[in-house]
Amino acid sequence: MSKKIDETSGWLQRFAAWVDGDREPPDRTLLVMERRPHRDFRPTEEEFERREKDRLRKFFNWYPIAATVICVVMAAILLTTVMNMPGFGDEDNPINNEVSERYLEHGAEETGSENVVTAMIIGYRGFDTLGESCVLFLAVAAVMILLLRDEKNTTGRELHQLEREEAGAREHADLILQQVAKVLTPFIFLFAIYVLLNGETSPGGGFSGGTILGAGVILFSAAFGVQRTQRFMNRRTYSVVRTFGLMLYAVLYGIYIFIGANGLPNHLAGMILLIDLAVGLVVACTMYGFYALFSRGEI
């Protein structure tokens, strides 16, 4: 940190030093400004306190009024918009155009999916969903950047406290939570897999199934602790599954676009299933990753 950066060193080194947070060489003019003694303008304690109290009182007087006004105005705007919207389920609504007609009439044969919603999400608008999966992936990456523990951002004291908390949780395990989790977790996993793999024919699909799967893993992790979760979900498995899901989706959808596009014979009826699986893996990993990173800072 204290290494000197002189003017002659290359811009690359200076940039690296700037990224690392090293100080620029002190500016002479600033130094002069700093040296000048402060003007003695400190208010006394009582006056400071009084002024602070005054400000707080003003804030608490105005805050509810401002909040109410903003809420009422927003609600009025939204309500007038809703009033002016066409009625729910009317025949001549603008959404009942040729696009939805096409989806409803030809969806099953063009994408091989009985469920029109899945046909739309994964088939016709699969590119959107690919973007959404990327957003989820990046969200976990961003949370990792902020919250992941390593030796650089954790002091020994914090680690010690964390260990103590975990030991306490292990000794005084919540009996009700554990028993309930023991009964419920297999069924949650089963239901998640059912929803995930049955997205073609029944409501559900990648997003909902993945969320349920993630919730199941969260329940298991909350009830039985980190060690038992890490038997099947350590950091390596986690990143492999997450990346595999996204890559599988990208590859499959690429193939889907180039082979199964409109006008070509559709041999890819099973493709929806695999894409659903990929989305489900990404979503489940996102949910569990958020939980693990928020609660312990590691996966």
Binding site: N115, I212, Y291
Partner: protein, 83 residues
């Protein structure tokens, strides 16, 4: 069915008004969770079961868990030893 829908809609409005008025943050999160749950039932009554499943899992489940974790991190849960 239509009566159930009206009951749920009234519940939604009550929850939406109650959530910001709660003094305790934990209560606010739980009210928000109830809002999500009623919304999920409403979605399935409006014949969009896909949305209902996702709303129940994300809105009532995972979001609330993340809120609880955040409250625990900032020591806003009552009954924890370091409050």
């Amino acid at each position: 069915m239509i009566v159930l829908e009206y009951i749920l809609l009234i519940g939604l409005i009550v929850c939406a008004i109650a959530a910001p008025l709660c003094k305790r943050l934990l209560a606010a999160v739980i009210v928000y969770m109830a809002f999500s749950l009623m919304m999920a039932v409403l979605w399935s009554l409006l014949q969009s079961p896909d949305l209902a499943i996702t709303e129940a899992a994300v809105g009532a489940g995972v979001t609330s868990i993340l809120f609880f974790l955040t409250l625990k991190k900032v020591h806003a849960l009552k009954g924890t030893h370091d409050e």
